[in-house]
């Protein structure tokens, strides 16, 4: 065990995997000079050389396309696309090639590539550097989607993603890089697709992931003091998501709230709510709800950006309304 930041944990995971498997390598812009925008590649070029920590031209299409070629030919590339916004510059390669190659070629190849794209708001990065696009990738057959929320998961899930034989969209949150916590540095990575119950509760199931986890836990704390016990589930893997954990919880609590930083309309919360409603309609005590950003581009100015964020207060108020509404109508 060691205490380290989310960025350090990510660096350690990649380092360990590169030591373990010579086929693992990474490519992207500016990985060498200062170890990436958050230091998540710090010192790795020194250790593994310029052929395994590859500094690339500003060529997102080819960064992605070449990684696909390298993946189907026996290596395991880790692609750094920096911001999820720039991930859109490689959307064609991700969707039309990486996600489909195995299927289209009738299983002749696999595409073991990790596609790192940072998501979320941070400090006025504005409309072109703040998006959370996880819903897009969940919709695309062939992709696995992972979003770690803690230093421990930053370590463990990156390792798991690197060992996955299929393309993994791996979304790190900009605001989490500097958070720190305990990391079991010797851990064997857990299988992808498992959620974690971060807090147990009986009154309502709150499903979240990535950058919203701290706010959700804080809200749960506040609510606990007011007598409402919220079960907080950190989804960790968005595709495939952990139905057993979520459904098991909702079946007990009868209430579902999904919280994410992405735009609410068309976000992944819609899928979770729709699927849960289809499967557990009879168990629901009130309408499942979703909280997310309004359907506006992310503004630069601080007070406006703040309004786009789901706040702890909003979570608390929503939970109270859901619990109260159910209380007033009683079990149906």
């Amino acid at each position: 065990m060691a205490v380290m930041t989310y960025a350090q944990a990510a660096q350690l995971a990649l380092r360990q995997e590169m030591q373990r498997d010579p086929r693992v390598w990474a490519l992207g812009e500016d990985l060498g000079p200062e170890g990436g925008v958050a230091g998540q590649y710090l010192d790795l070029q020194r250790e593994f050389g310029r052929d395994r920590i590859v500094d690339t031209p500003i060529s997102e299409s080819t960064i992605m396309g070449s990684a696909i070629g390298a993946a189907i030919c026996g290596t395991r590339p880790v692609v750094e696309l920096r911001y999820a916004d720039f991930g859109l510059c490689a959307a064609d390669e991700i969707v039309n090639q990486a996600a489909k190659a195995r299927y289209m070629l009738g299983g002749q190849v696999r595409v073991p590539v990790v596609i790192r794209q940072q998501i979320g708001f941070r400090d006025g990065m504005a409309a072109q550097h703040s998006q959370s696009t996880e819903a897009w990738w969940v919709h695309i057959p062939g992709l696995v989607v992972v979003a770690p929320a803690t230093p421990s998961d930053s370590h463990e899930l990156l390792k798991a993603a690197i060992r996955c034989d299929d393309p993994v969209i791996y979304m790190e949150h900009k605001e989490l890089w500097t958070t720190s916590g305990e990391v079991d540095t010797a851990v064997e990575p857990a299988p992808l697709g498992r959620a974690l119950v971060r807090r147990h509760g009986t009154d309502l199931t709150l499903v979240t992931w990535s950058g919203m986890l701290p706010d959700c836990l804080a809200a749960a704390e506040t609510l606990s003091a007011r007598g409402v016990q919220v079960e907080v589930i950190d989804l960790r893997t968005l595709w495939p998501w952990d139905r057993d954990t979520v459904f098991g919880s909702v079946a007990r609590t009868g209430r579902l709230l999904v919280v994410h930083q992405a735009v609410r309309i068309g976000g992944f919360g819609a899928e979770l709510v729709a699927e849960t409603t289809e499967c557990l309609f009879g168990d629901l005590d009130c309408a499942p709800r979703r909280l997310g950003a309004p359907r506006t581009p992310v503004p630069y100015s601080q007070p406006l950006e703040a309004l786009c964020r789901v706040s702890e207060a909003q979570i608390v108020a929503t939970v109270l309304a859901m619990v109260g509404a159910a209380a007033s109508t009683g079990h149906r």
């Binding site: 390669e93 195995r102 289209m104 697709g193 595709w239």
Partner: protein, 325 residues
């Protein structure tokens, strides 16, 4: 570097196979026996034949939408390919890919591709894998003249040069990008100037002249193998058919087509082989053999079973069910 008559004869046989394959594929598509987009390679066969003859089985090849010829030239089984076009379970991709995704990984064929230029970015990545794994292979990327206007193609040229990758780029310049004359949408001095601007030495060749292509390819492939890549081969040619089987090509002057048909790459090899002692009888036998082989492939394809329903759900990805109840 001298290429023997025997080897040219072998390439010629592959060309006949490509021609027979696509004669059938085009007709079958027009007869609605096949589905989707079928892009015939007819008229361009000398390029695939000449280039692939210089390759080893272990070398990688990436192709584009007009990909049947490259697969055959690299040695793929025409029967398994034909099954693929007929959407059958035994097809090279289990019937799940179709004409635009034919591939045979056991022969290093990374696949045809439905997105212009994407196969080229994949090819430079394959070369990076070769480098990283310390393997003795090279990569050949085929693409059309239209691809030179797509950003990813141009990025990939830069990429190959930056990392000095063992790639041979082969541009099959048939003058058209779909129904548009490529020259009308391509600025500046042209394709060769572009590849050279990225520091990639480029050679032009008459792509309808098998002997010329074979010589050029043998030299370029040897250079790439020796670590002097990336290099670029610009081969001029013409496609006889429409852009795809269902395109009648009405935007072209019939005289233009006739002129090019008179320059049939197959008949040019026939003449050369004749001049080098191969008899008409042998050549006629070759022609019959190619047609027979494709007829057999078609018969096999038509008789073969369609995929089982459960194939829909295999090879999507290891994790997660493709369809929840």
């Amino acid at each position: 570097m001298e290429v023997s008559v025997e080897r040219i004869h072998g390439m010629f046989q592959r060309m006949l196979l490509m021609r027979a394959f696509d004669e059938h594929a085009g007709d079958a598509r027009r007869a609605n026996l096949l589905r989707g987009s079928v892009h015939e390679y007819i008229g361009q066969e000398a390029i695939a034949a000449g280039v692939c003859a210089a390759l080893h089985d272990r070398d990688y090849l990436s192709s584009y939408h007009r990909g049947h010829g490259h697969c055959i030239a690299k040695g793929a089984d025409p029967t398994a390919m034909m099954l693929e076009l007929y959407g059958k379970a035994g097809g090279v991709c289990g019937g799940k890919g179709g004409s635009m995704h034919v591939a045979d990984f056991s022969l290093g064929i990374l696949g045809a591709n439905g997105v212009v230029a994407d196969g080229v970015t994949i090819a430079v990545g394959a070369a990076q894998a070769v480098r990283l794994l310390g393997e003795d292979r090279i990569v050949v990327a085929f693409f059309g003249d239209g691809a030179l206007n797509r950003g990813p193609m141009l990025e990939a040229l830069n990429w190959a040069r930056v990392y000095d990758l063992p790639v041979l780029f082969v541009c099959e310049d048939n003058g058209y990008s779909d129904r548009t004359r490529t020259v009308s949408v391509t600025g500046g001095p042209g394709i060769v100037a572009r590849s050279e601007a990225f520091g990639i030495r480029t050679q032009s060749v008459d792509g309808n002249d098998l002997i010329a292509v074979a010589h050029a390819a043998a030299k370029l492939v040897a250079e790439v193998r020796a670590g002097r890549g990336p290099l670029f081969l610009h081969a001029t040619t013409y496609r006889w058919r429409g852009h795809l089987a269902l395109d009648k090509g009405l935007y072209r002057d019939p005289a233009e087509l006739e002129g090019h048909q008179a320059n049939d790459p197959i008949e040019r090899v026939v003449a050369w082989l004749g001049a080098h002692g191969v008899t008409t009888r042998t050549i006629d036998a070759d022609r019959r053999e190619a047609v027979a082989q494709i007829e057999a492939a078609v018969a096999a394809a038509q008789a073969a079973p369609l995929p089982d329903a459960q194939a829909l759900f295999t090879d999507v990805q290891d994790l997660g069910a493709p369809a929840w109840p």
